[in-house]
């Protein structure tokens, strides 16, 4: 017996209804993605010289993207794993939308590292000659396990819904029915299946939570393990992690608002969800401010020579514009908006969350570049400089386009709101959900 969900028609409505508008959107995104691929080919043939990187700025926008996309990926795990453990049942309608961000931004995070390599064709050397003292190996372990686990976690919770698609979407094209058939693994909506699935998901949630903390900490250790000023701090791990969860949660708000509007899911993705996310975001923004102050006060107060060069460069030097924009975008404006405008107002929430994500990208940039520009040898080498060049810009755009493309295509083939998790009644046991009508709809 299928789970009873009064919104099933509404949730399934967007699936497979590919419109001309969709093809246009997919076409544009695909073109952008292919442009980026072209830029990468160009870079592969010519060498990394066509980028703006140099000595001492050996890492540029690609590594910024790596950190940013891995951070964005924390959205899904946070919403579905951490909130699952915490027993926050309001999260149910948005779990899949959030996890899909994780799933589709991870490839571009991991890919950015490969794009950044001078010899991407030697990537397997990391396995053949892997040397575990290097933080890169820690990254390879953590990110590959995280990628695998989020695919599996996502897929597991998708199986019952695939089965619903299999049973209901009978006039879909043959290949698509076949796809549902295979992916559903012969799911029968048996109560025992649901009981076990819930158990597996609960267990995996604990594991995913540990993994999510590990992954972003390890990412930060690429920087923290060196002795360079501005990077060599124990705070860099927690700071990266908090930033990741902040930008991830903000991305969820943006995605939900778009899905709600485009796919007419107003009843399912009700305003109450946005209000809950707003509370979380206020907490994270304040946490981010705390980390920011803790880090910069410690550095500034002790005024060690090399550290101060980097700090001054951020506060009042070359990077001051980026630094203060970041502070405004991540902290200043969003907090004001959340506190005074965000309640029951999706438009303002989305605006604040877009600001947060622009700010978080800038934050990744401002952590990485100023340290490289002012290395320890600064007093003899002189200040470095860095300006991203065309291939870097094209590839960055391509990464974002790719993420949106995968997401958009996915929503046309699978239900983006979990049907069984939001069901009023699951086979075997009642599955009480908070009434969607509780919150005011706009």
């Amino acid at each position: 017996m299928e789970p009873k969900n009064q919104n099933v028609q509404q949730i399934l409505a967007p699936v497979r209804r590919v419109s001309a508008g969709d093809y246009l959107l997919w076409g544009v995104l695909l073109a952008l993605l292919l442009t980026g691929l072209g830029a990468w080919t160009w870079q592969f043939i010519e060498g990394l010289g066509i980028t703006g990187m140099n000595r001492p700025v050996y890492w540029g926008v690609y590594i910024t993207n790596f950190v940013f996309f891995i951070g964005l990926a924390h959205s899904g795990t946070f919403i579905s794993a951490i909130l699952r453990i915490a027993g926050q049942s309001w999260r149910a309608p948005l779990t899949r939308a959030a996890e899909a961000i994780t799933l589709f931004s991870l490839p571009f995070g991991a890919g950015s590292i490969i794009i950044d390599m001078g010899h991407p064709e030697r990537i397997l050397n990391v396995i053949f000659y892997g040397r575990y003292q290097s933080p890169i190996l820690w990254d390879v372990t953590a990110v590959s396990l995280y990628m695998l686990s989020s695919i599996i976690f996502f897929y597991f919770s998708l199986i019952p819904d695939i089965a619903i698609c299999r049973d209901r979407l009978t006039d879909a094209p043959r290949w698509q029915r076949r796809m549902y058939q295979i992916l559903a693994l012969g799911w029968k909506h048996h109560p025992e299946q649901y009981r076990r699935l819930e158990k597996v998901l609960d267990g995996m949630a604990v594991f995913m939570t540990m993994l999510v903390v590990t992954v972003h900490t390890v990412v930060s250790w690429l920087f923290g393990m060196t002795v360079q000023p501005g990077w060599h701090t124990a705070l860099i791990g927690p700071f990266f992690l908090l930033g990741a969860i902040l930008s991830g949660t903000a991305a969820v708000v943006i995605t939900l608002a778009i899905l709600r509007k485009v796919y007419h899911l107003e009843n399912v993705l009700h305003v109450g969800l946005f209000n809950s996310l707003r509370k979380l975001l206020i907490t994270f923004v304040l946490g981010w401010l705390y980390m920011m102050i803790a880090e910069h006060l410690t550095i500034g107060y002790s005024s060690m020579t090399e550290e101060m060069v980097v700090l001054n460069d951020k506060f009042s030097g070359t990077f001051s514009l980026i630094f203060w924009s970041m502070a405004t975008f991540v902290f200043g404006l969003p907090l004001l908006i959340f506190l005074f405008k965000g309640k029951n107002n999706i438009g303002w929430m989305v605006f604040a969350c877009v600001l947060i994500n622009i700010g978080m990208w800038l934050e990744r940039y401002i952590v990485i570049i100023p340290t490289e520009v002012s290395p320890r040898m600064l007093h003899v080498m002189g200040q470095g400089h860095y300006l991203p060049q065309l291939p870097e810009i094209l590839i960055t755009i391509a990464c974002f386009a790719g993420l949106i493309l995968l997401y958009a295509v996915f929503t046309r083939f699978f239900p983006i709101v979990p049907i069984w998790e939001t069901a009023q009644e699951l086979p075997g046991h009642a599955h009480s959900q908070p009434a969607p009508a509780a919150a005011a709809s706009d």
């Binding site: 010289g49 000595r55 001492p56 990391v126 040397r131 360079q228 320890r376 003899v380 080498m381």
Partner: protein
């Protein structure tokens, strides 16, 4: 087993750059050209860097020749994911160009900025191309890998081969990197730091001796003798 090290007397160095030039010819570092050099992409295994204190007219300049420090505790070796950079048993830090994946973690980790990346395939003007050093260790490096000063370790191999051919035991003084050999002011000394009677070892214990960024714990094997 010798532990190779270098001492540079800053009193004797007058920044003629002959070390830089000799290094280029010995090790086939490519010619970047003005545009690339302005972008900070010139590859100079040995550089002479000006360290300027004060402001005109009360100015004091120290010229600081900077080869690779060949640290005993090298931060670059620690972070290499594939052991493409490693410290050999005689303490020389080397790069395996066939294995390097070009991730540039080592370049970022090195506090002395001695590691260079090949942004483009190497190039030389025609006139120079005919005079590249034929030794196998210094064959031109492909694009996308990291390279750095090796203390001219091809010269170590040649010195050993010569000693063998002449049927005499190899002596630490047989091996001299190009920058040391060419130094106009005889400011550079090279030898076995573990031999208490060697000149480098004695100079390294001089009260004038210091190492760059000693507080980082990298334990460089290049010592400087303070000016003045």
């Amino acid at each position: 087993m010798p532990r190779w090290g270098m001492v540079i007397d800053l009193d004797k160095c007058f920044a003629c750059q002959s070390c830089t030039a000799a290094c280029r010819m010995e090790n086939n570092t490519p010619v970047a050209g003005k545009n690339q050099a302005d972008m900070g992409r010139a590859i100079l295994w040995n550089e002479v860097l000006p360290f300027i204190e004060g402001e005109y007219p009360n100015i004091h300049t120290t010229m600081l020749p900077r080869p690779c420090m060949h640290c005993d505790n090298p931060p670059c070796v620690k972070v290499c994911p594939v052991q493409a950079t490693y410290k050999n048993e005689e303490g020389i830090v080397l790069v395996n160009y066939d294995r390097c994946i070009g991730c540039r973690m080592c370049t970022v980790a090195c506090p002395y900025a001695v590691r260079y990346f090949n942004w483009y395939p190497p190039e030389w003007p025609e006139e120079l191309k005919a005079h590249l050093n034929p030794e196998p260790e210094v064959q031109p490096r492909p694009k996308g890998v990291v390279e750095k000063c090796t203390f001219c370790f091809q010269r170590l191999r040649k010195a050993r081969e010569e000693a063998d051919a002449e049927g005499r035991p190899f002596n630490a003084t047989d091996y001299t990197p190009a920058c040391v050999q060419t130094c106009t002011g005889h400011a550079r000394y090279f030898g076995d730091l573990d031999d208490p009677n060697s000149l480098v070892s004695k100079l390294a214990h001089s009260p004038r001796a210091f190492r760059m960024f000693e507080e980082l714990g990298t334990q460089p094997k290049v010592y400087y003798l303070k000016q003045g």
